[in-house]
Symmetry: C2
């Protein structure tokens, strides 16, 4: 069997995925819309090899074990089943997503694994099929198959739930400036968090309704390069998602005082004419949807409120790349 290598970039959702209609197949309750990021990606090589007695997985040159390993084996089992293969695989993955930035690496990780493993197993999947496969590993990975603005249509079955490109070539000024929050609250993983919220928050159904209702507005904002509309829809959606967590039973909260300082700074900057909006995922870091031209003004304002805070900028990135061999 041949070895294939894939590079997939991470993505940040502007309309979020937060809850599953089907947990086995990872069919979401909401259609989500994201921006793929240029700076953060995962490279993964896969080779199926008859000599292996079990799957071997290396992440950043270290052998992977435990739950993370098990999750990858389960994913490889899906690939093997589709390819009618029983061979074990050698997986080598390198993450170029700084852990501190809290930029979900599971999206790029499972997209890259889906791309390299499917090709190595001899499957020739269409982009939609590849998105469906990546979805089985991690919901948000379905979006990392594509570049630019991407929409994961929730669908209602394994066949109908996959991502598509909304705008591959993002030729206007939009970036995500991640503000790294130092005060880390207790870690609750997104899979457990969304499940608990979906089961117990009295606002959950309303959030699903509001998110799905915002899809066509967000599509229009992207098509029209309407920064203000895109930003305000994204910020509202993120805040609503976090409010489903703070109303769960028992409640939990990813955001800290520092997160709120940044969220409120964004509102203050908007009053001063600087277009900047906040979005937050399953952690305290705040990603500022902003323009590259405003980076300096934003970071200066941040430094005045939160000295020592670090920022990481990311611009729109490409879709998955898959090549034959062990390297790109």
């Amino acid at each position: 069997m041949r070895e294939y290598t894939a590079r997939a970039h991470t993505n940040i959702a502007l309309l979020k995925y937060w809850g599953k209609a089907d947990t086995d197949f990872i069919i979401p309750t909401t259609t989500s819309i994201s921006l793929t990021l240029d700076e953060f990606y995962t490279d993964t090589s896969v080779k199926f090899d008859d000599d292996l007695v079990q799957d071997q997985v290396f992440l950043n040159d270290a052998p992977l074990a435990g739950k993370s390993y098990d999750k990858i084996v389960r994913f490889l089992d899906i690939v093997r089943q589709e390819a009618q293969l029983s061979t074990h695989a050698l997986v080598k993955s390198t993450n170029h997503v700084p852990t501190a930035a809290g930029l979900a690496s599971s999206a790029s990780a499972f997209a890259a694994l889906a791309g390299s493993a499917s090709k190595a197993a001899g499957l020739n999947l269409t982009p939609s099929e590849l998105s469906r496969l990546a979805r089985r590993g991690s919901g948000s990975a379905s979006r990392s198959i594509f570049g630019g603005f991407v929409e994961w249509q929730r669908g209602d079955s394994d066949e109908s739930s996959y991502a598509k490109v909304l705008q591959a070539d993002v030729d206007w000024d939009i970036q995500l400036l991640t503000v790294i929050i130092n005060d880390q609250p207790k870690k609750i993983d997104s899979r457990g968090g969304m499940q608990h919220t979906q089961a117990t928050s009295p606002f959950y159904a309303q959030w699903v309704e509001n998110t799905n209702a915002a899809v066509s507005d967000m599509e229009a904002a992207i098509a029209q390069h309407d920064f203000e509309k895109l930003g305000s829809l994204a910020e509202s959606n993120a805040l609503q998602m976090h409010a489903t967590n703070t109303t769960a039973n028992p409640p939990f909260n990813y955001l800290t005082d520092q997160s709120w300082t940044v969220i409120q700074l964004a509102a203050t900057l908007r009053q001063k004419g600087i277009e900047v909006y906040a979005t937050m995922d399953a952690g305290p870091n705040v990603k500022l949807i902003s323009k590259q031209q405003d980076t300096q003004a934003i970071t200066e304002a941040l430094a005045a409120s939160l000295p020592n805070v670090q920022t990481v900028a990311a611009t729109p990135g490409p879709g998955i790349q898959i090549v034959k061999g062990a390297k790109l």
Copy 2:
């Protein structure tokens, strides 16, 4: 004219008042349910005096001026109109509500003022009429006319929106243990906060619906002395109210990291069999709905998580007292 003095106790809502259907008459969007507290009260004496050329108001022996003074004059105007009186008043008020505890003093303040001013003006109001009058000063004051568990029926007009007793004699173990949070975020008054939220939060309508739907359950919990049901309904309602604020546009937040430490400590204590639930109003302090028998266990657990944090306990209190003269 004769002088009258009234003592009214503050109250904490278990189902919250957060938004107005009519801003002039303070008709709320939700029926609210509260517990009147024994330890915190306001004493207010009122005398209408033909010799006065304007209303004079003293709070804790200091003359009151500015917006707070104007608000009291506007309230006295309502009393004068009902009593067909044009005389100015001398108002002397003493607050026995520690400011740091963040236990709303406007509830006890306007209830005591309504009681003393109406009697001094020669009005003989029924308790319902007095509750309606107090409501015109501050919505939550309508509830401080009564002791124990009180329900402010939202109604749909000046005539139909007033409080009534649910359980005057609270002969079971329930207290509110206020945890005083030191990290104070930017102050947003409840009147401005609720107005902004009502106008902009995409969860506001759902919160109103959920609150009104919880009324009969809360009534049943109180009637049955069902501590767990009462506490869990109250905590969910408070969290939902705060989630309407964090989803307003722009968002705001009364709760801090320390508030969340206390909220999550309550959940941890419940897992250990200690019945304790959190409720929060327009500030960072957390009021723990708890039993006197558990005070020590709770304060010890608090001290372990938040050293130096102070607590103030309050038990169920009585309704308004009105006496002739300058003193109770």
